[in-house]
Structures are given as C-alpha cells and as structure tokens.
C-alpha cells in the first residue's frame, strides 16, 4: 500500500497543508472550521515546522474581526499568514478582506462553507457565507471533497503568491469538513515543488519596513479613487491562467489533475449540471451511472469561482449541450437568480453576443442542499429529468417539498446507484457510549491497513445530554464519491436498545443485511422485545440479527459506560469487512496506538474488552412470522398541540426532511412550551423523595439544571380524590405562607430528568438510620417510571402558591415559583441552566431575554423544541438571539424600545385621562416593586383595556397596542464568557456605560464551551484549553472590576453552588437597580473535566480558595453612606491548587508538563492572593475615606 495514504477528515486534510505553508495563523473558533485552528495550534505547540523549517505562530483573537485585522497586519508586515473560519466569522472579516484584496496581498483563508443565520441559525453547510464575499475582490477556489481540500490548500497558496490575489479556499461545512476519507497525503517536497520561494521573498519585499518605508491605506478623493481602483484589473485578468498553470504543475508533481471548470460525462452530453462543492461528487457519480445507461448527461464542476473566467467556462462545456441546470447551494431572495446561475447566464449571454456560433443552451437555475440538506443521486436525476421537460421548472428547489411556492422538483426516493462492492454500514449510538470514536477508529483501521477506500460521516444530535449519534461508514475498492447519507445499508448497528422504540432503522436495509443490537436481554428473548415494525422489517428484508450485552462486558472489563471497543469488535466479527483475526489484531494495534500514552491500564482494559466480546456475541433466532404485540409508541402525547404533533414530533423522530415548506412559519417564529412534549427518559436513575428526612429547603429544586424536580405547597383540601395512591406530601414546615393545613410536596419529572445527581449532592438532609441515603435518592428509572409519571402529572395539576404570597428573599421561597425554563437539552448536570431557570422563576412572566450565540442559545432554542415556557396566564420569557458579537447591544435595543413605548403609553394615558377616569393616577404612579404591586398594575391594565374599547379616539387605538408596557418589564442579556469577555466585550462595555436599566448575566465557564473548550479571556491562569495547550499563562480578565470602575454599574460575582442565597440576592438587586447591572456567574462545565454530578462541590472549592470570590458592588449603597463593595465570601481556606487539581483542565498539565504546571500554579496562587487583598481593601476602603460611611458604620 502507498505509504502516503492517511485517513483524516476534511478539516485536518486542509490544515495539514495550511499549517506547513504558514508563518502566522490568527484564528477564532467557529463551527465547523474550529478544528483546523485547533490542530494548527496543537501542531505548533508540539514544535511541528512549516516547509521552511520554522514553527508557525498561532494566535487566538477575540473575534473573527480581530483575527482578520491581525492577519491583515501580519500580511502587511510580510508574514505568510492564514486563517480558518466560516459563516458569521467570514462576514466579520469582510471589511479587512476588501482591504487585503485592494492592496493585492497574497493570503489564503480556508473556509468551511456554512449557512449564515437568517430566520434561524444553522451550523451546517451551504454557500451562503462564501457568496457574501464575492464582491471583495478575493479569488474563490472550491474543493469538492477531502482530497481536494488537501490538494487545493496548496494550489490556492501557490496561486495567491503568484497572482497577488488573495484566495478564499472553501469546502462544504460538515459534509466535507467533517467527513473522514482516505487520501493521498502531500509530502513536504510536493509543497516545496509548488511554492516558489522567490514569490514568498517578493511578498516579504512588499511588506512595510522602516528600511524602505511606504504608506498604504491612504484616503483618496473623487478625482482619483476610481482610476486607482481600476489599476488592479490586470492582476484579476491574469489570475485564472495562473491558477490553471499551478494546477498543471500540481498534476505533474503528484499526478492528480484539476481544472478551473472540469467537465465529466458524455462527450456528446445534451443536459449538463453546473455545480460546485461536495454536491459535484454526487453529480459526478450519478452522471457516470446515467452515462452507463446511455443517457447524454454531464457535469461541469466549478473550482475557480472568482475570478470567474467566462472563457474557461465556455471552453469546458461540450458543444452538444442543449440545456444547463446551474445549482446553487445558497438562496438570494429577490434576486434574478442565485449567484452561480447569474454568472453562468451572463457568461453565456456575453459569449453569444460576441459569437454567433457560441453554444446556446437553455439555462435553468436551482437551489439545493441549504444547511447540509441531503443531496442524493435521485435528486440529481430529478434535475436532469427537469432539463428534459419541454418547459423546465425555472428557479427550482430540489431536496424539499415546496408546497407554498411550488418550486420543488419531485424525485424518486428509492433510487440507489451505489455498486454492490461498496460496503455500507450505519450505526446508532449515544454520544456518551463512544460509538463515533470507535467508528473513526474502524475507518482508520480499514483505510490504513487495507487497500480499501473508506469514508465516514457522522450525524450528531442538537441535544447535549442523551444525544444520539448516527455514523455512516462506506468501504470500497474505489475512491468513494458518495457525499450523502447511507441508504440501503448492509450492516446496521443499534448500540442502545431504547432506540428501537424511537427510530426507524431497518426499513431501508438492503435485503440480507446484518443487524447488531446491544441489549441486556438474552438472545433467545431478543426477538420478543422488538416492536411490530422491527420484526416486520427483519422478516421482509431477511435480516440476520446478532446481539451482545455490551454493557455487561464493559462493566466486567472496567470500561464503565464506554462500549466503543466492544461494539467495534462485534462489527468486525460479523460484518466480514476484514478477516476476523486480522481485524482483531488491527483493533488491538489501534488501541495501543490510541491509549498507550494514557497508561498501560487503559490499554489492557480495552484489550480485555476485545477478548471478552466474542464469547458474548450471539446470533438471535428469528422465527417465521411477526409475533410482537406492541407497536412503536407515538413520539409525543396525543394531548400535544397540533403544531407539536404535526411538525415538531416529525423532527423528533428523525423525519424532519419529510416536512413540507408550509409546515413552517415564514419568519422563524416558534411557540414556547414545547420541550414538555419530548419525554426523552434518558436518565438511568432519577431522584426519589424520602419525605421522612426532608427539611423542605428547596435546594434540590434550585440546583436542578433541567427543572425536573419541583416543590409545591398546597392547602390540604386541594389535594383531592384524584390523588394517586403513592403521591407523597408532608405538612408544610414554614409559617411564611397564608393558610392552614398546608402540605409540602417534592416531585421529579421522571421522563425529563437527566439523572445528573446534583439534587442528591446538594441535599443537606441525611437519613439518620442510613446516612448513605438522603432525603432524596437516585433510583433506577425503570423501577419508578410509571409511578412517578402519574405522580408528576398529578403534581402539575395542583395549584401553585400565588407569586405575591411567596417570600422571595429566601431560596426556599423563590423555588416555589414556577420555572419558565424546563427540560432543556443542556448537558446533564449543566452549571449554566440553574441561573437561567432562576431568572425565569423570578421574572419570566415579564422578561425580554437577549441571548448571545453559544451553549445557552443552543439548549435554549435549537429545534425541535424550546425549554422556554409559559405560565397558566400564557406569560413567559420573550426570547431572541441576534448574533454572538452583538448581544449586549441587541438587549439594549429591547430596553430602548420598552422605555420609549412606556413613555408613549404614559403620554397617551395622560392625553386620555378624562376618558379613562379615576384610575389614571394609579396607572401612572403606583409603585411596581413587589410581585403584589406588579400584579395590581396588571389588573389595572386589564381594566384600562376595557375602558379603551369604549373610547373612540385614535389615541385609544394607539394605547391598546402599548398598554402592556405600563407593567414593569425586565430586560436580561444573557451569554457566556466568550461573548462577554471577548467577542462582545466592546458592546457590553458600551452598554454598561450608558446607565440604562438592563441586566447582564454572564454564564462564565471560563472557555468557549459550545465549540469545544477554546480559551477565552475568562480562562483561569494555569488551565489547559484549546489555544492554551501549555496552560493559560495570564490571569483571567477581571471583568467585574472593569465594570465597577464605572461607579454606577451594579456588579456581582456569584456561584450558586457555593452560596445560593448570595446568588439570589445578587440577581434580585441587579434587577431592581435602575441602571446597568452585571452578574458574573460561575458555571461548572463539562469542559472543566469534572464529574458533573458533583459540580456544586467545585463551586465550593473555587470559592474556598478565593480564586472566585463572591461579592456585590451596589452603587446605591454609596448614597446610604455604606461601603458599595461587599465581599460575600470568606478569606481563602484552601490553596488554589486544592481546587484546581480537582479539575482535569488544570490537572492534565501536571501530566503533560509538570514543571510548567508548577510554575503556572505558583503564579496563579500569587495572583489570587493579590486580588483577594485588593477586594478586601475595596470592601473596607470607604469606611476609611468616607466619614459619612464611618458614621453609618458606628
């Protein structure tokens, strides 16, 4: 086998070249490009050199805008510089891109083409981002697959150096960036052969230098700007030929040939598709299939999209062409057509105008594949079929059903063109069970150890807990061009038995396929456990069924919940892809390679798992007929609203592709209270109340990240005859609520709980007979599911204590409030969601919430459902996400509107005072500081509306639409530290400075959690994060102190696991402060490498060490003569290392670089000490300098 083969994904393929051709990389993480920057950083940290023998410098910036600025600067000072980005990131680079191109500067930006957020955000792939940079003057080179992403990274770099035109080298996000393929790797010598050092030297010679100074970036006037702008034209004119020349040199060097526009298909084709990106491979595969059937069809693959060389384009088209379908993976509403289409039309029109003999095909444009929508051979065929029509559909869509505008082409869903010698396998796993990792290993084994080609593509869940993964693997004797999901698999594996009741896995299986199931059920009983649909598919398709109890093998061999190695062994044992012995040897070799550095024990554990597996793998006897007595249960309850049943349920069951356009709102607006219908039942264990020991503190309710455990206090006579026999209550232990014979109850939502265990961890009440138990204990879900589901439904039917009766200044009281954020898809044990839930409990019924992009926007609003919900009156948090970078400004906009419209409403009330009558004074003057007062104002507004109906004045009509603004609204601006400390800091700072009544909650995990743990300015000193490979060398930015510096901003730093009451107070003080407030909330996170069930302990540890002091700065206290800064935590009880080394993010450095770890920890401890002393001074300084305060203190 050729030693140059490697099996990598598209991002790594590209970065493998880009890193070796850079002196500087300035980056910022964004999906799906993040891993390119991360790999470049890791490689540089390990000392890997570029082709000139020096290690590239990789820097992480605060935003893509910042990265583009740094790239521009690095280029202007002469470094060969690159960056990696996508989507909104690319948009933020546009201003610099115009400059870089205007200055004819050589560089390549490697872009994983991703959808731009419009009616919704999407992390997936299409060309809407790259199409926005068409006018910047950059060359645009498209790669269609993993090999091309590797090769064209070099071609782009060589071409930019020669042409001086900067290049965007792009490939499809996820479909190519995350597809694992076997490819031929370019050697350093290949790179050197293509890169002319003299061009690099020329690039350096053009750089700014005081030794030969120039100025660049002048301002020009109407007299000359135009002419000067036109001066670059020759460079653009020359660029296409330069690129082709480089491609030809490349072909000569490595044997792979590329063209600017590359034609594949019948030489006498009459129908041709023009397309670029990964869709081109699918078209090529289909064209070959159709050509073999005698159809005269072809493909024109676009590689160099800008500068668009009409001559090369026309030259590449077969003269026989009669009709062209130009496919765009983007949408440009209101345009005459999408960009590639209009370019093609223009190129042909110009050619036809100048040459009577030019080809004159009919051209139709179409859209496909938005946001990684599947694009399959059957869709390609539909496009060709459309071209055969007498009047082909123009500006069509393919891949969806557009029943609104009737743009879509219909297609045959059954067409499969893949040859029989391609092995297709599909695996359903849980994120946590290691399925994807195992499959990536399998691809590497086959790719690296055999002559077979291999391809892997992985579909991930948008949930972060209980997430399902579906792996699509192909192995075959030829290069694999199928850039779409697998249909008719020969092998299907279900790694979680519960999935059989939720997903259809077998209906498209190839006849005679093999099905592998992980189940604890013995082989002879497995058949009986299948629902009717599964049994029927097995019989119809003659599927062979195997089973293994992988979790018992994992438990016996110390693997815990990771069944990856076991299921991988089963796959090789029964799939026949490789001879069994050879496969097992290869698995063991991979295990050694993967885990050796992590310790011999881990290697041995995995070996033991492999060795134990085969004995427990059994074939399941399949009888001749369906014997099942049950069918798959419905996805959602029949009680769900129609929209949930008809739309969201389809998405939940994995049939979202089948929903037509009419199913969706045209503006991205969705209803609340939809997560309640999912009932995922993902917990292995759920908390069960032991009322005998409960002290009714409600701490468990406070900490539950998923609002899955709740308490109520109800009058005894309200617990009525419908009460389930096992529903538990105890006499209420407080005297703070009105009424007699009150009962307290605590109830889990068994199918919504994720089983994290934070509730049992926080419970302070121990069972005195058996102190290992508490007043709430984790119990296996199957044992209690039915019972607790009934109890939960009954619990929901009980009335809540009226808000105005509750003492909100205690945790116990506040936790009787109904949460309007429930059952999110956040990580099990999430450290952020308890804060958001608390906000919704306190203010959810009158709150506008601006949410920065990140974890909180994903678990807050990723379809199918949202955890934000409404109360019985239909009130709830009004939530929106604008962007990552502008969230503070976005939220400020809410406040400005509220203030303006409240002012206008008050003006209208005053204008209509005579008609409205006696309630005007109260409407305009009544205080709204308590829940009772706010409720009274709501009642007044209801009364006002009644009156307005009788008033026949235009002002009354105006006021009807604004009257709600007379009730106090809360504006909360929520986001993570990546937003607040980095990309959104400028806006956040400005918003804080304005003194408007907004509240900012920073969910501070100390890293970019959503994109996988990249370093932010909140990352603590000494912690390892991506882009802080050797530990963060500088302390976390003290955002609180920066805000305090304004003097008129309320600032608090909180950690609910260390002091829940301080958290509650801080949020309440922030809300009732009539100015800007900032609450910085310690949020434990999976990216810290901790046991998430014990996350609260980490809060205590970090506060005890003073690395996260708790404090509140309240400007109002100055007027009262009090010290504005209150230090709420005690002096350090422990060392910083006592906290830090209980978290993997710090501990791992002691294993990878102990000396550096020690040095950084010493600095961290010194820094914490210094800061603590400063906070202590601040907590006392006013009493020394402020006589009034001294007096008050006395």
């Amino acid at each position: 086998m050729n030693k140059n083969y490697v099996t990598v994904d598209g991002n790594e393929a590209c970065a493998l070249v880009a890193h070796r051709l850079a002196e500087v990389c300035a980056i910022y993480p964004i999906t799906p490009s993040s891993s390119m920057g991360e790999l470049a950083d890791e490689w540089s940290a390990r000392g890997m050199k570029n082709i000139w023998g020096t290690v590239p410098t990789v820097i992480e910036m605060q935003s893509e805008g910042g990265a583009a600025g740094a790239v521009h600067g690095a280029l202007q000072s002469g470094a060969l510089t690159t960056t990696f980005t996508a989507s909104q990131g690319l948009l933020l680079m546009i201003p610099n891109m115009y400059k870089i191109a205007g200055e004819l500067t050589s560089t390549v930006f490697h872009v994983t083409a991703r959808t731009i957020a419009t009616h919704a955000l999407s992390i997936f792939g299409d060309h809407s981002d790259v199409m926005t940079v068409r006018p910047t003057g950059w060359a645009m080179l498209a790669s269609a697959n993993v090999q091309e992403a590797h090769d064209q990274a070099l071609i782009a770099t060589a071409a930019t150096l020669e042409s001086r035109i900067p290049f965007v080298h792009f490939f499809d996000g996820f479909r190519t960036s995350h597809e694992v393929q076997k490819l031929l790797q370019l050697e350093d010598d290949d790179l050197r052969a293509l890169i002319d050092d003299n061009l690099l030297f020329a690039h350096r010679a053009r750089a700014l230098s005081p030794n030969h100074p120039v100025i660049r970036g002048t301002a020009q006037n109407p007299d000359v700007f135009f002419q000067a702008r036109e001066a670059c034209n020759p460079y653009y004119a020359a660029c296409p030929d330069i690129v082709q020349k480089v491609m030809d040199r490349f072909a000569k060097q490595v044997g792979r040939s590329y063209k600017l526009f590359e034609y594949h298909g019948a030489p006498d084709a009459e129908r041709v598709i023009v397309v670029m990106g990964s869709g081109a491979d699918t078209v090529q595969e289909t064209v070959e299939y159709l050509n073999a059937k005698g159809e005269k069809v072809g493909l024109l693959k676009v590689r160099l999209y800008r500068p668009f060389s009409a001559a090369h384009f026309i030259g590449a088209l077969p003269k026989s062409v009669k009709s062209l379908a130009v496919l765009d993976r983007t949408k440009e509403p209101g345009a005459t057509g999408e960009p590639l289409y209009t370019d093609v039309v223009c190129a042909l029109a110009e050619a036809q105008a100048n040459d009577a003999n030019a080809v004159r095909p009919r051209v139709v444009g179409g859209r496909y594949g938005l946001s990684s929508k599947e694009f399959t051979p059957t869709m390609v065929k539909a496009v060709f079929d459309n071209l055969s029509e007498k009047s082909p559909k123009q500006h069509f869509t393919v891949g969806i059903e557009d029943d609104v505008s009737r743009t879509s082409l219909s297609y045959d869903k059954e067409l499969s063109i893949e040859p029989d010698d391609v092995f297709r396998a599909r695996f359903y796993g849980l994120g946590a069970d290691g399925t994807v990792g195992a499959n990536k290993n399998s691809i590497k084994i086959i790719g690296d150890e055999t002559p077979l080609f291999a391809q892997g593509y992985f579909v991930y869940d948008s949930k972060k807990s209980g997430a399902i993964t579906v792996s699509h693997l192909r192995f075959g004797p030829r290069e694999i061009r199928s850039s779409y999901l697998i249909k008719s698999p020969k092998f299907i594996a279900c790694h979680q038995p519960g999935f059989l009741d939720k997903y259809d896995m077998l209906s498209d299986a190839q006849p005679g396929a093999t099905f592998l199931l992980n189940t604890a059920i013995p082989p002879e009983k497995v058949w009986e456990s299948f629902p009717k649909e599964v049994q029927s598919d097995i019989l119809k398709k003659k599927i062979k069924v195997y089973c293994i109890d992988a979790y018992s093998v994992a438990a016996d061999t110390g693997m815990g919940g990771r069944i990856n190695t076991i299921m991988q062994t089963c796959f090789f044992a029964i799939s026949g892809v490789l001879p069994r012995e050879e496969a097992i040897e290869a698995i063991k070799k991979t295990i050694k390679k993967t885990y050796e550095k992590k310790g011999e024990k881990i290697v041995q554990m995995n070996y033991a798992a492999v060795d134990s597996t085969l004995a427990k793998l059994h074939e399941v006897p399949v009888p001749g007929s369906v014997t099942a007595t049950y069918q798959r249960p419905p996805v959602v309850s029949d009680k769900a609203p129609d929209f949930v049943k008809n739309v969201l349920a389809k998405i939940i069951e994995g049939s979202g592709d089948d929903l037509p356009v009419s199913a969706f709102p045209p503006d991205g607006t969705f209803p609340l209270s939809t997560s309640i219908w999912e009932k995922r039942a993902i917990a292995l264990e759920v908390p069960i109340w032991d009322k005998e020991w409960c002290i009714q503190c409600n701490k468990c309710v406070m900490v539950c990240p998923h609002a899955a455990i709740r308490s109520k206090v109800v009058a005894g006579d309200q617990v009525n005859g419908k009460r389930p026999a096992e529903f538990q209550t105890v006499p209420y232990g407080g005297t703070d609520l009105p009424g007699e014979n009150l009962l307290y109850t605590l109830q889990v939502a068994p199918e919504d709980c994720t089983g994290c265990g934070l509730c049992t961890d926080v419970c302070p009440a121990k069972n005195k007979r058996e102190p290992k138990n508490k007043a709430i204990n984790l119990t296996p879900l199957p044992d209690v599911r039915e019972r607790e589901r009934t109890n939960w439904e009954y619990f929901l039917s009980l009335p809540s204590v009226p808000r105005e009766e509750i003492r909100l200044n205690t945790v116990k009281g506040a936790q009787l409030l109904e949460p309007l954020f429930e059952f999110s898809g956040a990580c099990s044990g999430c450290g952020e969601t308890p804060y958001i839930k608390l906000l919704t409990q306190l203010y959810g019924d009158r709150m506008l919430l601006a949410n920065a992009t990140g974890c909180s926007s994903i678990y807050g609003a990723n379809l199918p459902t949202t955890p934000y919900s409404v109360n019985a009156e239909g009130h709830g948090p009004a939530w929106a996400n604008s962007l990552f970078e502008d969230n503070a400004e976005f939220g400020l906009g809410f406040r400005v509107t509220l203030d303006k419209q409240t002012e206008f409403a008050r003006e209208l009330v005053w204008k209509l005072r005579l008609e409205i009558g006696g309630m005007v004074d109260e409407l305009l003057g009544a205080p709204q500081n308590t829940e009772r007062e706010i409720n009274e104002q709501r009642m007044r507004v209801v009364e006002l509306r009644e009156k307005l109906r009788t008033i026949k004045k235009p002002e009354a009509r105006q006021l009807e639409t604004l009257a709600d603004k007379l009730v106090k609204h809360a504006v909360w601006i929520v986001g993570g530290d990546g937003w607040a400390y980095d990309i959104g800091y400028g806006g956040l700072d400005h918003v804080l400075s304005m003194g408007r009544n907004i509240n900012i909650l920073v969910l501070d995990t100390g890293v970019y959690s959503n994109t996988g743990g990249q370093c932010s300015k909140a990352t603590p000193l000494g912690a390892v994060a991506k882009f802080a490979y050797s530990g963060k060398p500088v302390p976390r930015k003290d955002l609180a102190m920066m805000a305090i510096n304004y003097g008129n901003v309320y600032v608090a730093q909180v950690a609910f696991g260390a002091n829940d009451l301080q958290t509650l107070r801080a949020i309440q003080e922030a809300e009732n402060y009539e100015g800007a407030s900032l609450v910085i909330a310690y949020s434990h996170c999976i990216a810290h490498g901790i046991d998430m069930g014990q996350g609260l302990g980490q809060h205590k540890k970090v506060v005890d060490s003073a690395a996260w002091p708790l404090f509140r700065y309240d400007p109002r206290r100055v007027d009262l003569g009090e010290v504005p800064f209150q230090l709420d935590s005690k002096p350090p009880k422990t060392r910083v290392r006592d906290w830090a080394y209980s978290e993997t993010r710090f501990k791992m450095l002691t294993h990878s670089n102990p000396a550096e770890a020690e040095q950084l920890m010493a600095h961290a401890e010194a820094d914490v000490k210094k800061r603590w002393e400063l906070y202590q001074q601040m907590a006392g300084v006013s009493t020394k300098n402020n006589p009034a305060a001294e007096g008050a203190a006395k």
Binding site: S35, G599, K766, T1144
Partner: protein, 332 residues
C-alpha cells in the same frame, strides 16, 4: 564522636533519616530535607493503583462529552505525551540522585507480585540506592486468613528480590499474630531491612455530618513504644537491618530506639510539627547526650537495651503488660 551507621548496606553519617512522606514529594522538598541534615531520605511511595486510577480518571474526564455534539467533538487539546504511570516518580528518583549526596531510598506500593517486581526494577534503573516496600494491606476480606496475608508479603518480597540488586527493606505493620516469626520469615526471604512500623491512618466519625472522615494524626513520643518493644526483641536475631519509625520527636526517643536495636531512626510527624530543622537539632542533641553520658560511638549504644542485653529480658514480654497495669491500678 562517631555517629555513623550502616543501614541496608549504605553508610550513613548519622542514624537520623526522614521517612516516606509528602515532604519529599518533589525535588525542592528532597533538597530541603537533605539541607536539614537527613542522613538518608525515603521518598513517598509510588502507589501503583493510585497512578492507574489517576490515569483512568484523566482519560475518562478527557473523553467525557466527546464525539457527541457536532460543534464540540472534544473539550481538551490532545497532548502528545502524558506522564502517567510511574514516569513522574521515576523522574523524581533520577533527579534526586543527580542533585543529592545522601542516599535516596524509593518506596513502592504495587498491585500484584508481578507488578511490584516490574516497578522495583524501574526504580532501580532510575538510580535509587535502595527500595522500601510499603505493603499497606488491611485484611478486610472475611475469607482471607492470617497465613494468606503473611504468604503474600513473602511472595512480594521474593518477587522483588529476584528482580533487583539494590537493597530491599520491608515496611511492616504491627498487626501480625506472631510478629517475631513473621520478621524471621522476611529475614530469611531476603529482606535487607525491616522498618517498624507502618502507621495506618484510622478513620474517624463526624457525628454532625454523619460521615466517616479520614483522620491524620501526627505521632507523639508515646508511639515509639510499639517499635521499641519489637526492635528490642528482634535485635541480634536477624541478619537484616532494622529501622524505627513512628514517634521520633526528641533525642531521647531516638536514643531509646537505637538502644533497643534500631540501626536508624526515621522522622516524619516531628518534621511536620516542629519544622524540618528539628532533624538537625535532634542529631546535635543525640551527640551531646552521648558525650555527656560517655558513649564514644553509636555502635556502643545500638542494641544495648535489647532483649538480649538487658537484665530483665521478660520485661519486653507479655508479663510486663500485666505488671504495668497492676501498677497503674495501684497508683489510682
């Protein structure tokens, strides 16, 4: 005054060493102990099981959440090397050997006889002058007999001795039914030294929190009594050397243990309680005491109060207990 002594075949300038403790967990700590006058330094134990557990925890924590969510396929960068397993410990041994003049004695707690021997070999290769086997074993399994426990000790010792050439000491617990016999078996199985005794940290109960809490209690001078008795009984009856540890706080404590038969005394709690400079002071005080009492060398003093040498050998035996109890009652 000749204070020098020999232990495990190593010549020491005086008999006061530091015993295995976190004070020696890194090179600066070891250097501080050397500067404070320790004649030899026992490093804290390499706990194989703990290392394995740490490596496993690190692995699991790094894998947690990975390959699960499309935007975050991992949460940590992947270092190209990890110092897991014994590497860190072996580096410490090597660094100490390079930087210190006093003998460095490594300490080991393994998992199974084979792995004890494997790690012993690695420690030898790293340059340790000797090895102390810290067989920390509590027989809480109801099916394990005293004989099983004893045989296990001997098996481990033999496995290690067959693998390494450096001297090997055995740190023993006092909880053997027949300690003298056990000591003899160890001696015959090739132990170069016995260290009396391992102190097990006894758990405590927190009656407020209803929790079992590990309770670390520093030794006091009264803790020398147990090793003192057995040193006195063993001295002269075994080929191997004898080390005393537990309760050495004052020069009187040290002198008593040396008189009972110890070749060396090891300090730990006193260094925590009084600071590591206690060690040098203790050596000075031993020297002064010996001068004041006319001892010319340690050799004269060592074992002079062992069972073989005292006028009343039975005083070290069981009768002594009865006697002291009676006298206690009489006083009451």
């Amino acid at each position: 005054m000749k204070l020098s002594t020999s232990y495990l075949g190593l010549t020491l300038k005086h008999p006061v060493m530091s015993s295995a403790s976190p004070l020696a967990q890194n090179l600066p700590g070891v250097k501080r102990l050397e500067d404070a006058g320790a004649s030899a330094i026992v490093l804290p134990s390499l706990f194989e099981e703990q290392i394995e557990q740490e490596a496993l925890s690190l692995h699991l924590a790094m894998e947690q959440g990975s390959e699960s969510f499309g935007e975050a396929l991992s949460y940590f960068p992947e270092p190209d090397r990890f110092l897991v397993g014994p590497d860190e410990y072996l580096n410490l041994v090597a660094q100490c050997k390079q930087s210190c003049d006093v003998p460095i004695i490594a300490s080991l707690n393994g998992r199974a006889p084979g792995s004890w021997a494997h790690h012993a070999k690695l420690i030898e290769q790293a340059g340790a002058d000797a090895l102390e086997l810290n067989i920390y074993y509590l027989a809480t399994d109801f099916t394990i007999t005293g004989a099983d426990v004893e045989n296990n000790y001997i098996e481990i010792l033999k496995a290690v001795k067959s693998e390494v050439k450096i001297p090997v000491a055995l740190k023993l617990s006092p909880y053997f039914s027949a300690f003298a016999s056990m000591a003899k078996r160890c001696d015959e199985a090739g132990a170069d030294g016995l260290v009396l005794f391992n102190r097990f940290y006894q758990p405590d109960l927190d009656i407020e929190e209803l929790e079992v809490k590990p309770h670390v209690e520093l030794s006091t001078s009264s803790d020398i009594r147990l090793p003192l008795r057995w040193l006195a009984i063993l001295h002269g009856n075994l080929k191997c050397g004898l080390a005393a540890t537990s309760g050495v706080h004052t020069h009187e404590d040290a002198i008593k243990l040396l008189m009972a038969g110890a070749d060396v005394v090891m300090m730990c709690s006193a260094l925590y309680q009084w600071g590591i400079h206690r060690l040098a002071r203790l050596v000075d005080e031993i020297e002064v005491w010996m001068q004041d009492h006319g001892y010319e060398s340690l050799e004269v003093l060592r074992g002079s109060m062992s069972q073989r040498s005292v006028a009343d050998p039975a005083a070290f035996e069981r009768a002594n207990y009865m006697k002291s109890l009676q006298s206690f009652r009489a006083l009451a």
